[in-house]
């Protein structure tokens, strides 16, 4: 097993972002806003006709009708910085005194709420925009400026510091994971391989799963055993979540991704399995190679995508289906933004005999309210519960007895919101549900 030091090494560029929080600087934010606008982003920013249709798609706007929560409005500081410094006709605008003012500190503190607390990066607004502007992707870019300038939420900086120094945003270290592994080995009677070199699959986990839903580790042991696939967990680089993509810092995100990549290369695995966590998948699958500046030498697959593949190939045999009236919550980064609508819904139907789809299920489903790092912002809690109203309407329309999802952060957020609203509805993990319906007798123990 890899030696895990008390504090992990942190690069200077990642440390600089953490330090920015101590002395916020609007000019640094403005420079980063401008740097973030490349050709594709500029085409989109310049195409906005201010129709406001994105507001109608946003559950934060719907919650209270506050026009400041209009998705494209959240981009204003980045748009102004771009129009002032780098957009076509910027020098002409400055010459004529028509350039927008440079972003100011007070404005950016106000925008911290708009770009972080009231945006899940869920991309429903992107779906609504008649100009085809990928507003969620632009908010992700705008957060780079906010984080570099020191204007991201304090909770995010703290989580980023923990993730960089301990390997986990909530401080989960290897001994804690090892303990959970041991408990699951006892529970299932199955071994959980750790640091197995040359394994076919290396599974990474989220801290929420490790501490909140450790039975998922046992479920993995059952699943890989029946599929006849070799697998392993890494003792270093096991954390899949990436606070870097949530706070909006390429430097932090790159450092966190590179730990997983290092583990995969050290163990010479063929495939890294991203867990039931939407943004972890997005960070590892889509952003990762761009963050570290090179292509991977391994495949990245999300766990439910892999399970559906196993079922389709006949490597996993399922026995019986859940008879309860179930409905599936689509994690935004997996389904709407990640291209996994097909596998997750097929897998859901494979284990549920009475699956009722929510209105607008799939691409247009509402976010749980906690994605994009919102669940980690304490000051945003009431706003998040208010925004849950849209999801609640979708859930209640199904009359479901239980809710299933394929993201542990969604699961955690949904459980909190359901409890907050006085609802009684269990929330289940899809992979865990699959593990409960494996055909072999020993796996069902």
């Amino acid at each position: 097993m890899a030696d895990v030091p008390a504090k992990l090494a942190v690069s200077e560029s990642a440390r600089a972002v953490l330090d920015a929080a101590k002395a916020p600087d609007a000019s640094v934010a403005a420079r980063e806003f401008v740097a973030q606008v490349d050709r594709d982003a500029a085409f989109q920013l310049e195409a906005c006709v201010h129709c406001g249709q994105c507001a109608q798609a946003c559950h934060f706007y719907q919650a209270g009708g506050d026009p400041r929560y209009t998705p494209v409005y959240k981009l204003r500081p980045m748009l102004h910085a771009f129009r002032r410094e780098a957009a076509p006709f910027a020098s002409l605008r400055r010459l004529l005194g028509l350039a927008p003012a440079a972003p100011r500190e007070r404005e950016l503190h106000e925008w911290s709420e708009l770009l972080y607390d009231s945006c899940n990066l869920c991309g429903r607004c992107t779906l609504a925009c008649p100009m085809g502007i990928d507003i969620a992707a632009l908010v992700r870019r705008a957060r780079e400026g906010m984080a570099a300038g020191g204007f991201a939420p304090r909770d995010h900086y703290q989580a980023a510091e923990r993730a960089l120094e301990t390997g986990s945003p909530i401080g989960v270290r290897w001994p804690a994971l090892r303990r959970q592994i041991e408990l699951q080995e006892e529970e299932t009677g199955l071994p959980v391989p750790v640091d197995a070199e040359g394994a076919e699959y290396m599974v990474v986990l989220s801290s929420i799963e490790i501490m909140g839903y450790p039975e998922g580790i046992g479920a993995l042991a059952k699943i890989f055993r029946q599929a006849g696939a070799s697998w392993t967990l890494p003792s270093a680089g096991f954390e899949a979540t990436n606070i870097g993509v949530q706070i909006g810092s390429r430097a932090i995100a790159a450092e966190l991704v590179s730990r997983i990549v290092a583990a995969a290369e050290r163990l010479r695995v063929q495939c890294v399995v991203s867990p039931e966590c939407g943004h972890a998948y997005s960070a590892l699958r889509w952003e990762g190679p761009n963050l570290i500046g090179r292509r991977y030498g391994f495949e990245v697959v999300q766990i439910d995508e892999l399970l559906e593949r196993f079922v389709r190939e006949g490597r996993l045999r399922l026995a019986g289906r859940d008879a309860r009236r179930l409905t599936f919550h689509d994690p935004c980064q997996l389904v709407r933004r990640g291209g996994l609508a097909g596998p997750t819904h097929r897998l859901m139907r494979a284990v549920s005999a009475n699956c009722v789809e929510m209105p607008d299920a799939g691409a247009a489903s509402y976010c749980c309210g906690g994605g994009g790092g919102v669940s980690a912002i304490h000051r945003a809690e009431e706003l998040r519960f208010a925004a849950f109203a849209a999801k609640k309407r979708q859930i209640e329309a199904t009359g479901a007895e239980a809710l299933v999802t394929s993201c542990s952060n969604c699961r955690n957020v949904l459980e909190e919101a359901i409890d907050h609203d006085g609802m009684t509805l269990p929330v289940l993990g899809l992979a865990e549900l699959v593990a409960q319906h494996l055909a072999t007798a020993e796996a069902g123990k």
Partner: protein
């Protein structure tokens, strides 16, 4: 300056100058964006038909997503109406076709005048409604600035000045070289030229930017196999 002199100016130097600004400004705006460049995406694509994705992006966004139609219905239908109306007026009205023929040598059959007049209404009413919605809706009011209102005026001016010359229309044949009332025609032309001059600099540039914006998003989402 007499009406005739103004007409000559609007048909001559003003027209060519405005067209030059339209072309140069549009090219400058596009080039200014292209020069920003884009980083290559190193992630393994799920879909590789990026051009098809871009085309899908362009076409798919012509119709609001089914889940959003209820909330955006009026605004969408209103926008369809004035965009379609403007297209019919510009491309279907005989004097406009003659104008284009003089400039480019290209011509096509005109629509009957009563049909065109119906579409005049399809532009006026929705454009006023669009302005009312912009002033009344807190979201659109918050998003709006000088560009939004000035662009509205710049689009409306040719409509108003066009109404003033509509009685000078002709049932058949080419327009007279010198219309009986040159001043209204000159003002109509000048208002159109103002539109040409403003178009590349403000939100009216969505005329061409919309295709790029929808295209890059369509390609990026197709690459991930994500919802469009």
């Amino acid at each position: 300056m007499s009406g005739l002199a103004l007409l000559e100016f609007s048909r001559g130097p003003a027209l060519w100058l405005s067209l030059a600004v339209l072309a140069a400004g549009s090219l400058w705006r596009i080039a200014g964006i292209l020069r920003l460049g884009a980083r290559p995406d190193l992630s393994e694509p799920r879909g590789t038909r990026l051009f098809a994705g871009a085309m899908r992006g362009v076409l798919a966004r012509m119709v609001p997503h089914a889940a959003m139609r209820r909330a955006t219905g009026l605004a969408s239908w209103n926008a369809y109406l004035y965009h379609a109306g403007l297209a019919v007026l510009v491309l279907g009205y005989r004097p406009h076709i003659e104008f284009i023929r003089r400039l480019t040598g290209l011509a096509w059959p005109a629509l009957p005048e009563p049909v065109v007049f119906v579409f005049v209404g399809c532009v006026f009413v929705p454009l006023f409604l669009a302005l009312l919605m912009r002033l009344d809706d807190p979201v659109r009011r918050l998003l709006s600035g000088f560009d939004d209102y000035f662009s509205w005026i710049v689009v409306m001016l040719p409509m108003f000045t066009g109404m003033a010359v509509i009685s000078l229309s002709y049932a058949d044949g080419a327009p007279a070289a010198v219309p009986p009332y040159p001043l209204p025609v000159a003002l109509h032309l000048l208002s159109v030229e103002l539109l040409f001059v403003w178009l590349p600099f403000g939100k009216l540039a969505h005329t061409f930017l919309v295709f790029a914006s929808r295209g890059v998003t369509g390609a990026a989402l197709a690459r991930k196999g994500a919802a469009l």
